[in-house]
Structures are given as structure tokens and as C-alpha cells.
């Protein structure tokens, strides 16, 4: 059904990601290493955004004198 199709589509996207980054050629543990590195870096970026975005937005609005 829709969930099955969605899962197939996600599998296909993961396959494309493996092909493009050439992880397809590497062994499973190397894939794990690379994926965890990528997820940790992405996670850190998201966390930093979450922590600092309100301050940055307030600073921008203050600069443009939209809010005091």
C-alpha cells in the first residue's frame, strides 16, 4: 500500500545515496562509520541551529528596528 510504496521509495533513495558517495563499494562496517560520522555532524549542525537561531533572529529584527 502507500506505506509499502513509501518504504520502497526510501530504499531507492538510500541506494542512490550509496551509489553517489561510492559507499556501495565499501564494506558494511565502513558504511556504518561513514553514516555515523555524517549523522553526528548533521545532528550537531541541527542542534546548534536550534540553540542559536532564536538569538540570531532577535538580533536581526533588532538591527532592522522591527522590534526593540
Amino acid at each position: 500500500m502507500a506505506l509499502g510504496d513509501c518504504w520502497k521509495q526510501l530504499c531507492w533513495f538510500y541506494y542512490q545515496y550509496l551509489l553517489v558517495t561510492a559507499l556501495y563499494m565499501l564494506e558494511p562496517w565502513e558504511r556504518t562509520v561513514f553514516n555515523s560520522l555524517l549523522i553526528s555532524v548533521a545532528g550537531m549542525a541541527v542542534y546548534t541551529g536550534y540553540v542559536f537561531m532564536p538569538q540570531h533572529i532577535m538580533a536581526i529584527l533588532h538591527y532592522f528596528e522591527v522590534v526593540q
Binding site: Q16, L19, V20, A22, L23, Y24, M25, L26, E27, E30
Partner: protein, 549 residues
Amino acid sequence: MARTAAVANFKPKLNHNGLKCEDTEKNGYRSRKEKNGPGTGFASRQHQQESFEQAPMYVAVMTYLGFGIVTLFGYLRDFLRAVGLEKCNLAQEREEQKDFVPLYQDFENFYTRNLYMRVRDNWNRPICTLPGPVFDLMERVSDDYNWTFRFTGRAIHNVINMGSYNYLGFAENRADFLQTVADTMHQYGPGVCSTRQEMGNLRIHEELEELVADFLGVESSMIFGMGFATNSMNIPALVGKGCLILSDELNHTSLILGARLSGATIRVFKHNNMHSLEKMLKEAVCSGQPRTHRPWRKILIMVEGIYSMEGSVVRLPEVIALKKKYKAYLYLDEAHSIGAVGPSGRGVTELFNVNIDDVDVMMGTFTKSFGASGGYIAGKKELVDYLRSHSHSAVYATAMTPSVTEQIIRAMKCIMGKDSSTEGIRRIRQLAENTRYFRARLKEMGFIIYGNDDSPVVPLLLYMPGKVVAFAREMLDRKIGVVVVGFPATPITEARARFCVSAAHTRAMLDQVLHHLNEVGDLLCLKFSRRKHFSPPDLCDETDFELDS
């Protein structure tokens, strides 16, 4: 661009018969009326369409990204091996030699250890039947990520063969065709046990040499037992120190090896680029040898008929015009084009309808279109007689086996029509038709294909290393055997799959291959072409040149 203009200017005037008439002049090249071979009612090609489309930028970026990631992991694995956390399965220096000059640290070894070994199940696959249009493969699996293989004992049957150089389908084992070969084997035995100059010159060799000379329309020819050795051992006999060799960028290793062994100065011109060649010729004639400025003893231009990695065809009329203007010699290597192009299979000289005497040294191999092994050099009688005594191959290499010689004789007679059947011409036409159909359909589907529309070698660009490997595996799962090539045989960003169309492929087989290619292309996202798809070539007579400079 200038390249387009150069091609568009070359339109020979035709008289009412369709034969070239006397007064075509371009760069001093004057064409004479040619006696056309059998089955030709039309004159030379009026245009050659070659395309080398560039992929979009993101493809190049992703290719570099893929290679970068695998290289980083390669360094990691090398580190683990050096530290001792992982067993090294390849050759390593001994403990006592660790202070010596390192043997395995160069890029080539790094590449082999960390990229090639991971995926080498796609190459060197053992086959169990003859390499006809379909064949059987042995099934093999690996338990340790391709360091070692073991055979399961089963075979994969009826895999369509898109990788063998079987252009005219002579790699066959029909008993009625091979009767003469079997008889020759009974008569002469398998081995010759001598070189041509000692006791190995058999009557059958002389018969083949006369046949080759007749086939090509030259005075005389000489055959050798190995195609690679034909190039590498005969070029040193023709040129030496004080001579200049102008060789195309993408020449085969045998030509490069022969040129290096000869001791002549080698200069490389850009692939099929006449401006680059002319500039080099001009400079060579004006400046002479590097320090002394004496004139060069000989200038030899080395080109191939069809370049096997690109599928492009040499611009023969223009090269001949240049060679006549600057008084150089021409060495034409027709390994892939003899038997495969031209209305009666005589190669690129027939394709462009040039005078055979304009090409000084014609070389070719019997491995591709004739289903045998060996090579030949043909030309004027003085040249061939000189080679008979001065070539390394003639003096030191064992002569060609009689049964192989007979196979070439029967294949060549078939092509020439001398066995009083139309089988030869039927195969040539079938190959031309298969080539056109296959290329047109692939372009229509949206793949990037390199090369000339007449060449039976079809490189399909894959670019990314992960996709190269996945493509080969997917096609094998669908029972189609393809050859994929990556670095170092091609530039690092242009990995490709190379298809060799054969006259033995039926339309049904090609359709099956194309159907699976379509599916795999969608699955792996390989359709990078950005050109607008135009109608099949036999419906339009005006081509649009989409050449990227």
C-alpha cells in the same frame, strides 16, 4: 567551431553515378576516381557525426566526491594494515626490507589495493563456452569481499555477450564452416615450432599473405602471430633515433610501446584534432631536431582506424592531406576497423574512399573481426620485404599456427565473397544495421554515448565509481554480460561501459539488451544526456553537429 567547419567543408562533389569526380581540392588533397568494391553503389561518407557530450556539472562533482570518500577509506585501511589491526592480503615487503625503497607505496598499488580489489568480481569473469553472441559464465562467490573467490559449481547459461570483439560473428563453432580448419589441424598439427625466418614459413602463411594483400588492395603484406607484437615489434624496425613520431593522444598501448622502444622522439597531438597535428607538423618541419636543428630523418604520424575506448573514427582524408603537404608518413592501425566498417568491410580507407597508396603502412589485427589471433602489416612491396628481414617479430617470434591461419583464410574468403556465398556481405550489412539501431536507440533513451555513428564500439558513460560497479552487477543479474572500464584505462572521471555490437546479435537480442538497459538506467539514474532527442538518422539527411569543443 573550427572542427565543425573542417568537417562541413569536406563534401566531395559527386557525378551522376554517385562516384567521386576528379577535381575536389582541399589542402592539396586531390581525389581520384576509385574503383569501388562489391556491393557499393554509393560514394564516400558525406559527413561524419561524432559526439562527445559533456555531462552536467553535478555529475563531475559527485564523481570526485565518490572517489574522495573511497580514497579516504583507503588511507584508513592502509593505516589499519600498517598498525597490524588488519591482515594484509596483498604482497608486502619483508621485515628486513622495510628500510629499502618502498615497492608498494605508489598510487597504482594504492589504487589496486583499495579500489580495485573491493570490486574485482566484475572483471576477469571465467567463461565456459565460446564467446559467441550468447555464452555461459561460471558462477563464483566471495566470502571475504573479493580477496578470494570460490566457484559454486554452477554456470550461468545464455548470457548475452556484449563485450567480445566478435564484430562479424566469426567466433562460432558450426561444423560446416570449420571443416577446413579441422582439416588443416589434422594436416599440420597444432604447432609450428619455429620462427618465420628459420623453419616456420609454411605455404599456408604465404597463401594468407597474398589473400590479405588482395583484400586490402595493396602490393604485399606480412602476418605475425600476435597483434600486440605486430605494433610493438615493427615500429622499432621502421623508425629510430632522429625520427619523429606524432602519435594521437588516445593511441593503444602497443603503439606507445613500439614508439618508445624505437628510440624516436615522440610528440602527442590532441585526439583527432587536425589543428593540433598541423601545428606540430609545421613546427617539426621548421625547427627540426631539438638541439641541432637538423631536419628530421622521418616523420611518422600514428593513428588508429577506430579508437576502442571512445568509439571515434580517425579523420582519414584530413590526415592524408596533411601528410602530403608536410611530407610525412602515415601508420594506420586498423585493429578494430578492419572488417567492421566500410561497405564491404575493408576498413576506414573504404569508409572514406581514399586511395590505398596514400597510407604508407597499414596495420591490422585478426583478433577482432576475423575471430582468430595475430596481426598483419601491409603496404608497398619494398616496405614489406624490408620488414621480413628487419622486424623483431619476424626473426624471433614463433610463426602463426596453421589452424589459426586457416581460420583467417576462411573468414577473409567469406568476407570477400570468394567462397561463392553471400554470407560475408550479409554479415557486414547486419553489423552496420545493428550498429545504427543500437546507437540510435541508446541516444533516444537519453544515455551519453561517445563516438562515431558507424563504429560498432559503443561506450556508454557511467562516470561514478559506485554506479560502474552496480551497473555491471545488475546487468549480470539480468543475464547480460558487459565490460565496464574505469581508471586507468580511461580518464578518472569518465568511467564507462563498452558495448561491442556483433553481426551475430539478432534484433531480438538487441531489443532485450536495450530493454534491460532502459530499466537499469532508470534504476541507477544513468540518463545524463541533455540533448534534444531527434528522429532516427535514416529519416533525416541533414545532421546537426552537436560537438563540444
